[in-house]
């Protein structure tokens, strides 16, 4: 089954890089949606089927932790895996994301292999 992926990051550069990593990975991608903050991401989720969310934490308007909370407390989306891709490497943020139900956590700077290795078990499950 081809997947629809939502990439949420206030940096257009990081959104492009993640798109490229997904295109090169052995994952069957159908559509890639982009959002610059958590509010935009919720609009994309309301309008489209999404199978995977890759989200930054530090973003304007709504940060990635609040976005994760919104996704995991809404029964329409709470089964969608959310992987945090962020410079925020502090233990408290990692624990908070895990407690809220994040499926993975990748720290920037990242390699394409790190993204692939994080996504593989999510889609193997």
């Amino acid at each position: 089954m081809a997947l629809d992926v939502l990439i949420v990051d206030d940096s257009a550069a990081i959104r492009k890089i993640l798109q490229r990593v997904l295109a090169q990975a052995d994952i069957n991608i159908s559509n890639v949606y982009e959002a610059g903050d958590g509010m935009e991401a919720l609009e994309v989720l309301r309008a489209n089927r999404v199978d995977l969310v890759l989200a930054d934490i530090n973003m304007p308007k709504m940060d990635g932790i609040q976005l994760l909370r919104e996704i995991k407390t809404d029964e329409k989306w709470n089964k969608v895996p959310v992987v945090m891709v962020t410079t925020e490497g502090g233990q408290s943020k990692v624990i908070t994301a895990a407690e809220l139900g994040a499926a993975g956590y990748v720290r920037k700077p990242f390699t394409a292999d790190q993204i692939r290795r994080t996504l593989e078990p999510i889609f193997a499950a």
Binding site: D10, S11, A12, A13, I14, K16, I17, N58, M59, P60, T87, E88, G89, G90, S92, R107, K108, P109, F110, T111
Partner: protein
Amino acid sequence: MYPDRIVELVRAATADVFETMLNLEVVAAETSVDSSATNMTDGVVSVIGLAGEWVGTGVLQCNADLACTLYSHLLSLPATEGVTADVLDAVAEITNMIIGAVKNDLEDELGPMGMSIPTVIFGRNFTTRNVSAQGWTTVTFHCGGSDLHIRISLELHDGRRAARAAFSVGHSAD
């Protein structure tokens, strides 16, 4: 906060970002600790605020050529139109990764810190000034014939100083 520790963390974070995301050689060069908070500059300045028990600012500064090189290496695309919004976005993200990594390591010693969204400025003959009692630790790198400066100022939070810790930008009239 000891400047030597900041220098060590900045060098490690910068080397990691350049190797992992840019595939670009960067050579650590001189360091300085300046009491002056005012700096005349040309080119690109990217600023991130840090706030917690310790408060401060992280800055990446480089010329336009190096900003375009950073963009090209980050995205594997040529920067054919000079310093565009996309180039500034790339510099902001590189700043975010470098200062973010330094912040993550400092949190073990200084407690949790929040980090602002980066602000990036591009221009000529402008002055940057941080209204802070603390000086700057500056770490310079050589990269492709240009210099990259990472500057960090940190001080222990007290309400009076934190209220004044705004970063301001002025323009030279020459």
